[in-house]
């Protein structure tokens, strides 16, 4: 434990042999395709599947009438139709399905289905939705009664709609089984919650819907909701043949939820020496057409809406709206990311108003162990924010603006001679809840078996936890090796033949599934110790197997009126410093360096951990400077990688990292979830650095070239 053990799936991944869901193949399988709504809001007057059915090679064309069981599904509310019924509520909503013997045939057949729509008003402005009270959740936070102060700064901030943009688009293979059920091989974040949604819609008991995790080409929240799981299964059950579905890149932009765009109004009051007196905020998050995980996103934005700062008076209203925009849900840092950009922008304004440096204002207000959050929850584990900021501030700065034109913004395009290039430095601080919050029964299950193979003891670890690239397979193996002292450890493929592990999200798997594997190993160890004989001898009687569930500390719902409550089980901090060069004439930004300090409680695997911090930082950089799904009147304008830009290797600068290990006594090994916090703090740090370089207020991310050049 604590060593940079290499990924067991590494050799497969570098040799092209790792089977991603899109690589699955069965002889005689069919290909599925989805017909989606071109309109953000319309009545469906009629659907004529005749022309599609008549095409050679087409085996099935299905609409909502063919959904065998429940017609609606959803993560938190079952409000999303499997296939549209009488109306569509967003562009891209699935309307009909086709199975054919060739992907191109399936595609063409889907296009041949004739749907008559009656377009109607689309509500696409979340402010209008708020006025009309089209709300998925409103969560207030109310503490204290002093809402005046010597120094007051206000600001309005906007965050664009970000896409998870995993590189391996949605895909899966559904195989009809002899018992009338279906075996589904799928790239997902949570096998059991998929099973729990798929089975009722197919009209099958859960045990007849068996899921196995196929290789996952990235997730970042986008695989938490269902995509084609029910669709492929319906086609397989109808045709009696295996059906594969693979979304193309454009379809992928319509096939999953995105990060909620946000509109936020903040007012911070402080004493003359920069101590916070109060924070008022209105946070509007557009959830689009269906609930998805909007309630949790709103909860995070509300409970963490002031950031990791001590303040006695808080008045927050966080809203999630229903509109006819694309549905939004989970993406790395959900809810906390949007608020973080706003409160950190405010802290910089406050620093300027009080004549303090950005680091000093944050240190003066920083939470520490024993602080009370806006929700009343006491931070009861180490939270050394001030120390982290000092460490960050002490890291060496990169050299001043380069004289080599190729190093300037614009790169080898050499768009500048350097006259318009300004250097800027900015800071960002983020706090993220780890694991599921607000009273959710959040647990994981692990089965650990020790047996003799070839005369030597071997461990088999079996969970349903989804490896999505974060390195969970190694972590499970490392834990088993450490707990049992046995070298040969295999992690079985994740499937629904063992109990739920919960979702690979909220940075929770090392904590919860790690905890489950640890607990199951301890149970095995106990049996060995009780027996007293040498392990090899015991195992001659047969294998030892133990299955355990692991739960983190209980959490509680937020009070619906005051927002008070111990809603989180663990909180994690990350701080970033960004150094940028900005060509103020062309509006081009080059991030020169990013430095970060993160407290992870306990390092389980340094390599995998650094990967998480780099990756989270990169996605925060994307949100700061380039990533936005542009939606106009409910329609997506840029569903492609040529128009939706994600950071390349050139955009991502070298990083300095300092990792702290202040253990959380409640968590296994004292660890803290690590994947999300860096995604929070890198965005405001970069935005602050660009403001520092340009002197512009820049209250919206992503910051576009025109925001700088035309300001």
């Amino acid at each position: 434990m604590g060593a940079s053990v290499l990924r067991p799936d590494g050799a497969l991944k570098v040799s092209g042999e790792f089977a991603y869901s899109s690589d699955l193949w069965l002889d005689g399988m069919l290909w599925g395709a989805t017909l989606r709504s071109p309109h953000p809001s319309a009545w469906i007057r009629s659907i004529d599947i005749g022309p599609a059915l008549a095409m050679p090679g087409v085996y099935a064309v299905l609409t909502h009438e063919d959904v065998p069981g429940e017609k609606f599904y959803g993560l938190e509310n079952k409000d999303q139709p499997v296939l549209a019924i009488d109306q569509v509520r967003y562009q891209g909503e699935p309307v009909a399905l086709v199975a054919a013997d060739h992907p191109e045939t399936a595609r063409r057949a889907a296009d041949a289905i004739v749907v008559t729509y009656g377009e109607r008003e689309a509500v696409t402005d979340p402010r209008v939705a708020l006025e009309r009270r089209m709300l998925v959740r409103h969560q207030p936070v109310r503490v204290g009664s002093t809402f005046s102060a010597d120094v007051v700064v206000t600001g309005e901030y906007e965050v664009g709609m970000q896409d998870q943009a995993f590189l391996g688009p949605e895909s899966g293979l559904a195989v009809p089984a002899e018992d009338g059920g279906v075996d589904l091989y799928i790239a997902t974040q949570w096998l059991h919650v998929d099973q729990g949604q798929v089975a009722p819609c197919l009209g099958l008991p859960p045990e007849k819907v068996r899921l196995t995790l196929a290789g996952v080409g990235g997730a970042f929240g986008a695989r938490e909701d269902l995509s084609m799981q029910i669709h492929a299964s319906m086609l397989a059950l109808r045709t009696g043949k295996p059906v594969k579905m693979v979304y193309g890149r454009e379809e992928s932009f319509f096939g999953h939820v995105h990060r909620h765009p946000a509109w936020m109004r903040y007012e911070h009051g402080a004493t003359l020496d920069g101590r916070l007196v109060y924070v008022k905020a209105e946070i509007l998050l557009d959830g689009g057409a269906y609930t998805s995980s909007s309630p949790a996103v709103v909860g995070n934005a509300a409970s963490l809406g002031v950031g990791p700062y001590e303040v006695d008076n808080v008045h927050i209203d966080a809203y999630g709206t229903f509109t006819n925009n694309p549905p939004c849900g989970a993406m790395r840092g959900f809810g906390a990311v949007q608020a973080c950009y706003a409160y950190e922008s405010q802290m910089d304004r406050l620093a300027a108003a009080c004549g303090l440096t950005p680091v000093e204002i944050r240190i003066r207000n920083a939470v520490s162990q024993g602080s009370r959050l806006a929700t009343g929850q006491v931070v009861d584990t180490p939270a050394p924010l001030a120390e982290m900021l000092r460490d960050l501030d002490a890291m060496p700065l990169p050299e001043s603006v380069s004289r080599d034109l190729r190093d300037l913004p614009g790169g080898v395009g050499q768009t500048t001679h350097g006259d318009g290039v300004r250097r800027g430095v900015g800071y960002g601080v983020g706090i993220k809840n780890i694991c599921f919050s607000e009273g959710f029964d959040d647990y994981s299950t692990a089965r650990v078996r020790v047996e003799l193979l070839g005369g030597e003891p071997h461990v088999l670890v079996h969970t349903a936890a989804a490896e999505v690239g974060q390195g969970l397979v190694i972590i499970q193996a490392q834990i088993a090796r450490t707990e049992l002292g046995i070298d040969h450890v295999t992690v079985a493929p994740a499937d629904t033949q063992v109990g739920s592990s919960g979702s690979s999200s909220a940075s929770r798997q090392s904590y919860v599934t790690g905890g489950a594997v640890k607990t199951a190993c301890e149970a095995v160890r106990e049996r060995i110790e009780k027996d007293g004989r040498p392990l090899e001898v015991i195992l001659q009687d047969g294998p030892i197997e133990e299955t355990r569930e692991y739960r983190h500390r209980r959490t509680f719902p937020m009070d619906p009126v005051t927002g008070q409550g111990d809603s989180h089980t663990q909180l994690a901090l990350c701080v970033h410093r960004a150094v940028v060069d900005v060509d103020v004439e062309l509006g081009l930004v080059k991030v020169v360096e990013l430095a970060a300090v993160q407290d992870v409680g306990k390092i389980l695997n340094p390599l995998a951990l650094e990967g998480q911090i780099h990756g989270g930082t990169a996605q925060g950089l994307g949100l700061a400077l380039m990533e936005e799904i542009q939606v106009r009147d409910g329609k997506v304008l840029n569903p492609s990688f040529t128009d939706y830009l994600i950071p390349t290797i050139l955009d991502m600068p070298p990083m300095q990292l300092k990792i702290l290990e202040n253990p959380d006594p409640n968590a296994p090994y004292g660890l803290r979830g690590a994947g999300e916090p860096p995604t929070l703090s890198s965005t405001p740090a970069i935005a602050a650095a660009v403001r520092n370089a340009t002197g512009l207020p820049l209250s919206r991310v992503p910051i576009r070239p025109q925001d700088i050049a035309l300001a």
Binding site: G16, D23, L167, G615
Partner: protein, 172 residues
């Protein structure tokens, strides 16, 4: 699987071509719709799924393969264009079960997370060294910038390429 990929065009006007593809040293005779990309031919006709599809329009690099020693995006290359050329894919890099130095370096440096971009990154990196363009970290970044990694493993990718360059003397 039906071979008809008519895309709305009457079948008679869709040209079918006989193509011999040489992939990783072996010859494959295929009868193809002339519009089939090298990527689809590899994945769907030859069952070589190591080469990945991330965008199908030249924007992500996941489909990078080597054709006559040069890196190409197989999603923008027609299979029919590759007649008589040597195609090398990720499956052909290891020799006799021994990983190529670049593959080993990617594992050692943890230069990936989900791994979906990795085949393309490695094919690009191998070609980059052959092109003599890996002289500095900046150069590596410049000439690897066509290969996206959403997991953000970029720092480790640079480290892996640097190590192979320094060990093998493949480059300046």
């Amino acid at each position: 699987m039906a071979d008809d990929m008519t895309g709305g065009v009457p079948v008679a006007t869709v040209a079918r071509v006989g193509v011999t593809l040489t992939v990783n040293g072996a010859d494959y005779r295929l009868d193809l719709d002339s519009r089939v990309t090298l990527l689809d031919a590899l994945r769907d006709r030859l069952g070589m799924t190591g080469t990945k599809k991330g965008c199908d329009q030249g924007a992500c690099g996941a489909c990078t393969v080597m054709v006559d020693g040069k890196r190409v995006l197989s999603c923008l290359t027609l299979a029919a264009q590759c007649e008589g050329k040597d195609v090398t894919t990720i499956e052909g890099l290891a020799a006799d079960g021994v990983l190529h130095a670049m593959q080993e370096a990617f594992v050692r440096h943890d230069a990936f997370q989900c791994g979906y971009c990795t085949s393309g990154q490695i094919m690009s990196a191998v070609c980059l060294l052959a092109e003599g363009r890996a002289g500095s970290d900046d150069a590596i970044r410049q000439f690897m910038s066509g290969n996206l990694c959403r997991c953000g493993a970029y720092g480790n990718i640079v480290a892996a390429i640097r190590e192979v360059r320094d060990a093998g003397g493949h480059d300046a």
